[in-house]
Amino acid sequence: MYDFTIIGGGVIGTLIARELSRYEGKVLLVDKENDLGNHATLANSAIIHSGHDPKPGTLKAKLAVEGNALYDQLAKDLDIPLLRTGAYVVAHDDEEINVLNDLIDRAKANSVNDYALLDGDTARKADPNISKTIKKVLSLPSTKVTYPWEIALAAMENALANGAEYRLNYEVKAITQTATHFILENQNGEKLTTHAIINAAGTFADLVAKMVESNVEYTITPRRGEYFVLDKQVKGFIKHILYPVPSNKGKGVLLVPQVHGNILLGPTSNFQDARETVGNHASDLEQIREDANRLADGIPYDLIIRTFAGLRATSTHDDFYIQASKTVKNFYHVAGIDSPGLTAAPAIARYVIDHLLQPKHTLTKKTHFNPIRKKPSVFHTLDKQSQHDLMKQNPLYGHIVCKCERISEAEIIDHINRPCGSSTIKGVKKRARAGSGLCQGGYCESDVLRIISEVKKIDKTRIDYYALNTPILREETKVKK
């Protein structure tokens, strides 16, 4: 019997798992996918906003501002990257400048005091490729960029180190409530028992809630966002995150420098019915170009290496919906987490403990909680002496598998073997970055496949691309059938 079961292994679920692992009690996280952070956590703008944008007085405003401040400590504890870019909201004409002034009022109301209104030329001095037609910018220096997927990984690794557990490929299909606890059942009929449930199921949150509640107060209406990724050769093309002035469709198409040197363009914003089908659409990709051209001049579109799309778990509730169920005891909603969800995530995790769980459960702090998680070394970024020492321990650091990103065989093996390791092609790509570069795996995929097969001692035809039963290699040709 678990004390707490979290449904959903995105950045919200994993950070809640980590916060809960500070306390005594059995904590489990389940996710229906073959890896953590597979949906919104994997496909978003990667921005930690200043908190200037949400409507004052909302949970979004409060938790975004708190979350932004919490990231400095979180990044230190979990060894995750933070790129302190700052952001410019840009205005081309008087109408847009009026919006900037409204945003300043909002920022003040949300207690975001670190801002400045700059004229276009001053902004262009700092960031020369900003569009010539921009007249004013609102500078928001506390805005930064992270690698969201790694937060989910790091938070879960740290939660595991502190006694929490997790299960992948566990899709909750039914929840039964007894007098004392819940019984969860997955797609294979496997059952789990737990005293309390925290529903962090993203675009599926309302469907999960309906398994126990007859009257769920919100509906998730997925909102798709599409993106381009420019190769890391563009590093330095822009130094700040560039936002247009917001519209009723949200923050609009942005230009975002990424922690690995790439630049992200997007997202678009379109509601759709499907909760996880996230294809790219020619019309969206066209719109990104059109909108992005208002932000910067001479965007090198020939360096696009990838397109992707993600779904925001937008809900019919006009704010984050973070509440104890009004009808079902020990069932907690953490739903409708769309933008600024990533920003707010560390504050949401604390909020869930302090405002939802503490009042109703006895939470006793562990004496030996260790907040620190170290990430595996990225060999090519180390100094010569450390490289030399590692090479002596393991010569496979010298074998470069992914030459675009300079990732060695030893690093890939490490990422396969770690506590939250993965033995899929895409799982390795997300962890080690092998296959994230210019050639998108053209050079290294077959070598990564060989390494996984050797480390896991499984046949090459059983190495999955990502989800279960998605092998890259269909069959061996030179064997007798």
């Binding site: 020619a282 010298g398 074998h399 030459k403 050639c439 795996g441 077959s446 989800a467 040709t477």
Partner: protein, 419 residues
């Protein structure tokens, strides 16, 4: 300190090394893989060597002739070694390399011949719409899995792009028992060699959809189906022309790009058309002592031409270390004009007067008969009628410095379609 380091042990690097070899010089070849031969090793079909050897060989056979000669000359080589970066300090190249034996180390050299080949354009670079399931891969990757490792990636296959690898793989997968449903090409003409259209598609009844592209991809985890649509003159999909195919594999043969990643920190200008470095007739880049040849310079249609070009690059590198030639303050430009896509080289160094200057070029349009003219202003250097020209096929011409009226005015290449 090495005299010449050749990067890449494929067709280009082997030919360059064989020509650059001289008992008095300290040269070395560096190869990333376990075996020499490069991409030829996975090209097990025939058709290689018609120009160089006057016979038809498979890729591995073609490679073997050069590997044998390379070993006979006992040219030093470092295998399974990746080059990460090249810098130049005080006229010396510092080549950062990595392998299992020595970890990270630096090779110093007076000159470099880069023949690191090319990589395949990916789905992201052409921004295909639709979902992103397993089952979409560059044709060359599927070729490697099949021909080197012995695995078939799928059973129901569609190919996007009519580049040669795509055509070869359509036939190869058919021979291996897969169901190949078709090849779509966005251009109104094929991007592959005519002989490959005939021998790989026509002979196996595989349909070629010209002026078509993929407009949707369906499949959450595994590829389930693709939709192709006809495109108009502006390459926009025409509504109502959609055709759906249930496939588990979509192979992409949508272009090759010279791989010059190791030159990232060098002040090298890339050619806007070839996406490789710009060079003069000695294959020297804007950096003195840095030579580039083969598919790392521009993508070739035939390996025979890679061999010829790389031989010349090897000879020039050797000449450079024996009797250094300087870069002129103002080289003579060669410009691609009417109906010419690009000319290689893009400039002439007039201080290097050997014998013949070789130019490779591609046309932008098909011509049954075309008149190709090399001129300097109004002065016609050379004009010749060429039969059966197509964008997919590389053409060649030669001239000498003596043919020029001066060493300053740009040279232009044009093609007029006669028929």
């Amino acid at each position: 300190m090495k005299d010449i380091v050749i990067i890449g042990g494929g067709a280009g690097g082997l030919a360059a090394a064989l020509e650059a070899f001289d008992p008095s010089l300290d040269i070395m070849l560096v190869e990333r893989e376990k075996h020499l031969g490069g991409i030829l090793n996975q090209c097990i079909h025939n058709g290689f060597g018609l120009h160089v050897f006057d016979e038809e060989l498979t890729g591995p056979e073609y490679a073997e002739r050069f590997i044998q000669a390379f070993h006979d000359k006992k040219i030093p080589c470092l295998m399974e070694t990746t080059i990460l970066e090249i810098r130049k300090e005080n006229d010396v190249f510092l080549i950062e390399a990595s392998n299992k034996q020595d970890g990270l180390f630096t090779i110093k050299s007076k000159s470099i011949v880069l023949s690191s080949g090319c990589y395949e354009r990916t789905r992201g670079q052409i921004q295909l719409p639709g979902e992103r399931p397993k089952g979409i891969m560059p044709a060359g990757s599927a070729q490697r899995y099949l021909n080197i490792e012995g695995y078939l990636v799928g059973k129901d296959v569609f190919v996007l792009g009519s580049g040669d690898i795509g055509l070869i793989m359509a036939r190869r997968m058919k021979l291996e028992g897969a169901n190949v449903l078709g090849v779509a090409e966005i251009m109104p003409y094929s991007n592959g060699l005519t002989r490959n259209i005939v021998q790989c598609l026509d002979d196996y009844d595989i349909p070629l959809y010209l002026s078509h592209t993929v407009t949707d991809i369906v499949g959450k985890d595994c590829l389930e189906s693709i939709t192709i649509s006809e495109v108009d003159a502006d390459f926009k999909p025409i509504k109502g022309s959609e055709k759906q195919f249930d496939v588990d594999t979509l192979l992409l043969s949508v272009g090759l790009i010279p791989d010059t990643m190791v030159l990232e920190s060098m002040p090298i200008a890339l050619h806007p058309k070839t996406k490789g470095p710009t060079v003069d007739q000695t294959y020297q880049t804007s950096v003195e002592g840095l030579f580039v040849c083969g598919n790392a310079l521009h993508v070739h249609d035939l390996v025979d031409y890679v061999t010829d070009e790389s031989k010349r690059a090897g000879q020039f590198a050797k000449l450079f270390v024996q009797k250094p030639f300087k870069k002129p303050p103002s080289p003579i430009a060669i410009e691609a004009n009417q109906n010419i896509h690009y000319v290689m080289p893009s400039s002439i160094n007039p201080s290097v007067d050997l014998d013949t200057i070789h130019c490779a070029y591609r046309v932008t349009t098909k011509a049954e008969v075309g008149e190709v003219t090399l001129a300097q202003g109004d002065h016609i250097i050379k004009t010749q009628k060429v039969r059966f020209m197509a964008p997919a096929e590389m053409e060649h011409l030669t001239f000498t410095l003596n043919d020029l009226i001066n060493h300053k005015d740009p040279i232009t290449l044009t093609m007029e379609v006669i028929k």
